[in-house]
């Protein structure tokens, strides 16, 4: 049965997609900022994993920590020094700002790392899983597991920690949170940092699945858009459901309509969902 294999491929891909979208969704939901930089952050995470492995021999699964930490710092800095200045401006302004930052960072990465597609080849792959009709490299399954674990940890962080509760409070009502003594601009910076951290971690995990190049950032960003809309904004469970759904839809779309239509399918889906169910499949909040 080919369909089991396709479903398994889709779910493994979907776990990684969930990790891609969780940070993006958090930033969009809490700060009301569409972070165009997200795709470039992911690619930066992949490069950190690639260089760590090639020069220091550090496994990409461990680079998740360094890439996440480094990207957190970058994200925190970008938000506190730049985006916080225009956070109250209309949508167009913050969108244009992150677009400009993305042009800047992506171009610098092109100059520094070149546009060549590179591949991280593991010296000692874990082997493969054979489960009846399904074949799957164990590395990918481990990457998916880690991705879902990270996304789950983010969810717990938002639920259980003081910082997490403050972030949720800002998402619900910025002014009220401020009146309750929450330092909103600090929470903004932490939230953006967390978003970037998730991007960096996802990038490290993706480095063993996807070829690495600065040119990939647009593709990752596009996926994050679709997943966010699919799962509903600002909710981590929504990102998981949306990610898994997109992975499965892409896999089945590829065998039914051909892989060249994958982008068309996912973006058509995006427009349709925006029209008919703007709060997303899991979302509860309004769409304004």
């Amino acid at each position: 049965m080919i369909y089991f294999q396709v479903l398994a491929n889709g779910l493994v891909l979907g776990g990684l997609y969930a990790c891609i979208a969780a940070g993006f969704s958090l930033v969009w939901g809490v700060l009301n900022v569409i972070n165009i930089l997200h795709g470039t952050f992911i690619v930066l995470g992949s490069y950190i994993a690639l260089f760590s492995y090639n020069f220091l021999g550090i496994h990409p699964f461990i680079s998740v920590i360094t890439a996440g930490a480094l990207l957190y710092l970058i994200g925190h800095l970008v938000q506190s020094s730049l985006i916080n200045r225009v956070i109250a401006a209309p949508v167009l302004m913050t969108l244009t700002l992150t677009f400009g930052l993305d042009l800047l960072l992506n171009n610098l990465m092109l100059v520094a790392f070149k546009a060549d597609y590179r591949k991280l080849v593991l010296d000692n792959p874990l082997g493969r899983l054979e489960l009846g009709p399904i074949f799957m490299p164990l590395d990918r399954i481990a990457a998916m597991g880690l991705a879902l674990l990270l996304t789950f940890l983010l969810h717990r962080l938002l639920r259980d920690s003081r910082i997490g509760r403050a972030i949720i409070a800002v998402r619900m009502d910025r002014e009220a949170a401020s009146l309750m003594g929450v330092n909103v601009s600090r929470i903004n910076a932490i939230t953006f940092g967390l978003g970037a951290m998730m991007a960096g971690a996802a990038g490290s995990l993706l480095s063993i699945v996807y070829p690495i190049s600065p040119l990939n950032s647009g593709m990752f960003l596009g996926k994050a858009f679709v997943i966010c809309v699919l799962g509903g904004l600002g909710s981590v469970p929504g990102a998981i459901v949306g990610g898994l759904a997109l992975g499965v839809i892409e896999s089945f779309g590829a065998i039914w309509f051909g892989p060249e239509h994958a982008v068309t399918i996912s973006f058509t889906l995006l427009i349709l969902i925006l029209i008919f169910r703007p709060a997303g499949l899991m979302g509860k909040r309004g769409f304004e």
Binding site: V86, L97, G100, L103, L104, G218, T264, T268, P278
Partner: protein, 309 residues
């Protein structure tokens, strides 16, 4: 009346270029008219109505491809351009009715998705469009010199038409309604403005201008491919120009286009490998320091007391 005088002055200044300038100046002036036209078109929906549309690249590519396919089938170019304009207007009206009820970021994303979908559709419809191979638009049997002049005047005409349309719209009921929508859509609705109709009208008008410019562009460069004409930068550049010149104003988009082109030309020439980075830094600086455009800066500067005590 003052607006029309400025319009005449703009036309006169542009018409002087082919008389005195060399071919480089002529090419630059053509690009300037192209940019100004795109910025003016975007201003209807993005500036006046305040809807952050990223669909400009979709209309640009659609116009370019409709006219290219028609010309490849033997339709004369002027008819093909007009057909491109009407096709995009109808397309924008249909898409607009579906996505213009979304607000803020959601509208931005939906309009961005329109670009991605159209690009992939054109990419995969190989029988009609040549797919990734692109499409050649046959020469019209003129010398290169005559062609350069022809396309400059055509582009200039289109810009003037759009500028005139901006003046008319902005002083009419439509412009008033769009500004109301931009300030408070619910209030506009309650005051009896048919917001859906106004938004769709602005979106379609914007698409009409962009598509014809795309069609002229395709004939001008004579070869188009999907990543070229559906480039997302065609959505972003007009937006930056309008921000530079002043959102929702009449001459702001033109001033923004001139300034942007000057900066772009300077950056391209001096920083070839990092031009995108410099452009990015410019956008960042613009948002942080000049959010209301250069026009507002000058107005503030004039209001300053002459002698400071």
């Amino acid at each position: 009346m003052k607006h029309w005088l400025w319009l005449a002055a703009f036309v006169a200044a542009c018409a002087l270029v082919p008389l005195f300038g060399n071919n480089y100046a002529l090419r630059l002036a053509t690009i300037m008219c192209l940019y100004a036209g795109l910025a003016l078109s975007w201003n209807f929906i993005g500036g006046m109505a305040g809807y952050p549309s990223f669909a400009t690249a979709a209309f640009f590519g659609l116009g370019a491809y409709v006219s290219a396919v028609l010309q490849a089938k033997g339709v004369p170019f002027v008819a093909a351009w007009a057909a491109a304009g009407f096709a995009a207007t109808i397309f924008a009206a249909l898409i607009g009715m579906a996505i213009l009820h979304l607000k803020g970021h959601y509208f931005a994303i939906a309009s961005l998705a329109v670009v991605e979908v159209l690009r992939e559709v054109v990419n995969t419809a190989e029988g009609l469009t040549g797919g990734g191979m692109g499409i050649n638009i046959p020469l019209q049997g003129m010398s290169a010199d005559v062609q350069a002049r022809l396309f400059f005047f055509v582009m200039l005409t289109m810009t003037v038409v759009l500028l005139a349309a901006t003046i008319i719209v902005s002083t009419s009921k439509l412009g008033f309604g769009l500004r109301c929508i931009s300030q408070n859509e619910d209030a506009a609705d309650i005051l009896g403005i048919n917001t859906t109709f106004y938004k769709v009208a602005a979106f379609s008008l914007s698409a009409f201008g962009v598509a014809i410019i795309g069609a002229i562009y395709a004939s001008w460069v004579q070869y188009i491919e999907p990543p070229d004409v559906f480039d997302i930068l065609y959505s972003v550049k007009p937006l930056v120009m309008v921000l530079l010149g002043g959102l929702g104003t009449i001459f702001g988009p033109v001033i923004g286009a001139v300034l942007y082109l000057a900066l772009e030309e300077l950056v391209w020439r001096n920083f070839l490998t990092v031009h995108a980075a410099v452009l990015g830094a410019l956008i960042v600086a613009l948002v942080l320091f000049l959010p209301n455009g250069v026009g507002a800066m000058f107005r503030q500067w004039r209001k300053r007391p002459a002698v400071q005590s």
